[in-house]
Amino acid sequence: MRLSRSAKVVLGIITALVLLFIYTPLLLVVVNSFNADRTFGWPPKGFTLDWWVKAFDSPGVREAVVSSLWVAVVSTIISLVLGTLLAISLQRYEFFGRDVINLLVILPIALPGVVTGIALNNMFTTILGVPLSLWTVVIAHATFCMVTVFNNAIARLRRTSAGLEEASADLGAGVFTTFGLVTFPQLRSALLAGGLLAFALSFDEIIVTTFTIGAGETTLPIWILQNLFRPNQAPVVNVVAVVLIVVSIVPIWLAQRLSGDSVRVSGARVKADGR
């Protein structure tokens, strides 16, 4: 479709405004983490690394970073294993109740965090009688992180022919050899993308975490929430927020690049096959 010059200009301006509205506050947080003025006077009178030094020296922040990383890594690993298994079973096999399971697997990402949080909290404390800890956070995160891995894996499986697995079995490879030598290499980049998304999702999650975390524990987002309204912690909160932004954006950017690449590669393959 051709757009007139004026339409292009108008659409360009709207796009710019929307993006500006989204990213200016983020930029403000980044700038303020270097702002020499404790009350964030604008424009900044000077820049300093004091807040960064202070943040790195704070044992509370360091602990929260380690906890967040640990939770994100473990829940990503669990998601990778379960998401891959689910995708293979739902895409490659026919069985009773397949469509229902497909829906049930995707549901947690659509469910409001408050609901997931309350439900899991109830289950852990009253039904299972498990004390809340970082492990309960890991399990809670895995319920929805699994979905990103699952979605990426199943999309890739749909594009790769089940004939490859048949060929492998035909040539004498058992189920596990076939997975290792044929299925996994086809899935690798999709799993990396899904895993990075899962990591980002877990790393900055706060609602479900609030309901499932143990009394003495803090993750980074929880730490921010707890310190947000303490005036003398405000500059350090900005620093932590910047760390969160970076750690969340980089994996998503990588994931997008990876899945973009794989789409292009498989597109070329389809073309080659079409001759």
């Binding site: 490859l164 492998s168 035909d170 040539l171 490879a173 058992g174 030598l181 393959r269």
Partner: protein, 386 residues
């Protein structure tokens, strides 16, 4: 204890199963070939024996009680239209599908319930199914790799196999960098390098253009003859089946209509379906046959056995039959002309006339002619259901 299988017992069963699978996939192809050599001394044991083989998908009966013996070292084609069950039979032999009922024997050994990786049968797939992330050498070496052959040795064997199909120069290439015909050869090399007892080919030439297909038909046939391996070839192309096969099984509606050599199938079709599907046939129904020969069975005559007399003069020789008719159209096919004639009180027939026509199409069309044939060119077709 004792009432239920304990967790330990289940674990033990799983480990035992895994172990068996590993042992099977590690077994060396050489030893298996040796074992096959000793067990196949008698010619009586067929390479493949199917008994009452049936496969039902939901409401559809894809394969309906097929009995079939395929001999050692035979080039056997399964010919039939799409949906006739031939590919399903192939997939049942390979082990990708489990039969609803019936049995499959490979060299006298019942393999009905075995997984694909436990059968000494290899497949060349219709879309080749080459592993896109592996080079040609790794693709071809795959079967040797999963049998535990050391890297250097299996690469050497894969190289030899690729040399044999004239792809020795492209060892390091990926499948996506090859043409359709080249991929087809890689698939062939990959299946043959593990020395299967039976090679299954699922319409492997379907994606190639005509010239290449004819060339590959000859190459495949020569390869099969030199290797002496049983080939089971699935195709819907009757010409391909007639050219290459020692024997052909014609499939229709999940069953086998006729089994025979190319000559038998073409010259003596066993029924109306085979007569129509293999080559072109002129079929006279039971009533029309009754009017000519006084026998109430359908009959069939091949177009090349019909002669057209442009003068309209019937042949007087004994052992020949003539019928008057009207020319309706011509199709020039290069080596001959197909002449369509509507017989008076009979079917519309096609006659293949190799010589030059005695006039232009416009002069001859709608003209009265006489069509004659030798009585021994007539093939009586048993009525369906008998």
């Amino acid at each position: 204890m004792g009432q239920q299988p304990s967790v330990d017992w289940i674990t033990f069963r799983c480990v035992a199963l895994l172990w068996t699978i590993r042992q099977r996939s590690k077994a060396h192809p050489m030893t298996e070939t040796l074992a096959a050599g000793t067990s196949t001394g008698s010619e009586a044991v067929p390479a493949i024996r199917l008994r009452k083989l049936t496969k039902v998908f939901g409401d559809t009966v894809a394969v309906n009680g097929v009995d079939l013996d395929i001999r050692h070292g035979e080039f056997f084609s399964m010919l039939g239209p799409s949906g006739s069950g031939k590919t399903t039979v192939l997939r049942l032999i390979a082990g990708f599908e489990l039969p609803t009922s019936g049995s499959i024997e490979l060299e006298g050994k019942d393999v009905t319930a075995m997984a694909p990786f436990q059968r000494d049968v290899n497949t060349v797939f219709q879309d080749y199914a080459l592993f896109p992330h592996m080079s040609l050498v790794d693709n071809v070496a795959y079967g040797l790799r999963v049998r535990g052959m050391p890297g250097k040795q299996r690469r050497e064997r894969a190289r030899e196999a690729l040399d044999r199909v004239q792809l020795g120069k492209f060892l390091g290439r990926k499948p996506a960098q090859l043409s359709g015909g080249q991929r087809q050869r890689v698939a062939l090399a990959r299946a043959l390098v593990v020395e299967p007892k039976v090679l299954l080919l699922d319409e492997p030439l379907g994606a190639l253009d005509l010239k290449l297909r004819q060339q590959m038909q000859v190459e495949l046939k020569e390869l099969q003859r030199s290797l002496g391996i049983t080939f089971i070839f699935v195709t819907h192309d009757q010409e391909e089946a007639l050219t290459m096969s020692d024997r052909i099984g014609v499939f229709n509606n999940g069953g086998i209509e006729q089994i025979g050599t190319a000559h038998e199938i073409y010259e003596r079709p066993g029924g109306i379906f085979v007569a129509n599907f293999v080559g072109t046939s002129n079929i006279f129904d039971a009533g029309q046959a009754q009017a000519i020969y006084g026998r109430p069975d359908p009959l069939c005559i091949r177009p090349e056995r019909l002669r057209v007399a442009w003068t309209g003069e019937p042949e007087r020789r004994s052992g020949t039959t003539s019928r008057p008719g009207t020319v309706t159209s011509f199709v020039y096919v290069g080596h001959a002309t197909q002449v369509r004639v509507q017989l008076d009180g009979g079917p519309a027939v096609v006659a293949l006339v190799p010589e030059k026509l005695p006039g232009s199409d416009a002069d001859l069309v709608n003209g009265p002619v006489t069509v004659s044939w030798d009585d021994d060119a007539v093939v009586w077709l048993p009525a369906p259901g008998t």
